[in-house]
Symmetry: C2
Subunit: 197 residues, 2 copies
DNA sequence: CCGACTGTACTACGGATGTAGTGCGTGCGT
DNA sequence: ACGCACGCACTACATCCGTAGTACAGTCGG
């Protein structure tokens, strides 16, 4: 281990976090090896050494994104199916609210990378890891709540939340984030319509 | 008018359409003056002349996008408030289905440009023109249907549809587009939950 | 019939970008 | 104790990008 790097969490993580921050702030065109060096305060060439090619840099960023996003979503504290509808509403509202307030940057970077994954199938892999785990949990929950079409209802829920976040972060409604109460109300309405057709 | 250009709809429109196609196919980093020249089969420098700066090229693309998107959304054939809930469901489902099938490319380009507009406020202007008109129409419709919170419900509807389109076009669920029937069903559920709280 | 004008073709250039190559110092295994 | 491997700093280079400048052809007004 060489002396002491300016970060306590490893060079690669610092590069990855800086890449995500750059994606949010300057978009896909703003993410370059040199820009990461500068933004992270690292000597020129450092990012090239951590991730030699652009593809490697993007994969590093996506991997890191999956880690941090899992924490934002609260993947390991999802409610139990027996906790009922309100627990699900609360968990989803909380996750969305966290994504929109303390993690706006991460959310924006996710959309940038999702679009890029359209053209780079290798990136899709890491997305799907976190994404599928989350969706599977959701499917179990809506099933337990009596959904007659769990797959479609899961997609509906995820799409609603994702679309709302996109609207708030990149849409014309780039006003402030909805309050947790508004989020809960919207989710209750959506779930109510799904479960009492 | 110089002789006959290779397009019948004007040089600027050809450049704008090609720019949108490139955005969908190669992303923001794939959109360059030279790439547009090549993809459109125009002699090198043509795009530079139509839109000298990158900013101008992006504005041209966004303007064109607003035009074409308005047609996809059916902005001028929105149902009358008195036509009832089913007419609204049909109109929205049809619009979403059109966006996902015959206009996937346009939809992808819209997300690219929406993200870019985050960092270029000038682009936001043209988005808001079409977007606000559409939302205002929706607000009128949900109000007529008895919504107790038209603004939030409009946002909910738009977010649901937008999130679904994003999921289908760029998400892990990049499976085929939902059928119009599935779209109608999802919309009915969402509206039912909103209007019968 | 001719001159100004507009849109087009083409070239030039400063700067940035992705990627590869090369020494050097540090910590580790033996 | 000492060579070895590894991560790091730094440099080099070919390519590509945005933008500006200039010359030309066809069109329209007088």
């Amino acid at each position: 281990m060489p002396a002491r790097t300016p970060t306590g969490t490893g060079r690669a993580d610092l590069v990855a976090d800086t890449a995500l921050a750059l994606l949010a702030a300057r978009g896909m065109r703003g993410l370059t090896h040199r820009a990461v060096d500068e933004a992270a305060g690292l000597p020129p060439g450092s990012t090239s050494n951590v991730a030699r090619t652009r593809q490697a840099l993007l994969e590093l960023a996506v991997r890191r994104l999956a880690d941090r996003e899992a924490r934002v979503l609260g993947l390991h504290e999802m409610p139990d199916p027996r906790d009922g509808l309100d627990a699900l509403v609360d968990a989803l509202a909380l996750a969305a609210h966290r994504a929109l307030t303390g993690n706006r940057e991460l959310t924006l970077a996710r959309y940038e990378l999702a679009l890029e994954a359209t053209r780079r199938p290798e990136l899709r892999t890491y997305f799907d890891a976190t994404g599928h785990r989350f969706r599977d949990q959701l499917t179990g929950l809506v099933t337990a709540l009596g959904s007659t079409d769990p797959a479609r209802h899961t997609l509906s829920l995820v799409a609603w939340a994702d679309g709302l976040m996109f609207s708030c972060v990149a849409g014309s409604y780039n006003a402030e984030a909805p309050s947790p109460d508004e989020l809960r109300q919207g989710l209750r309405e959506l779930l109510h319509g799904m479960l009492n057709g």
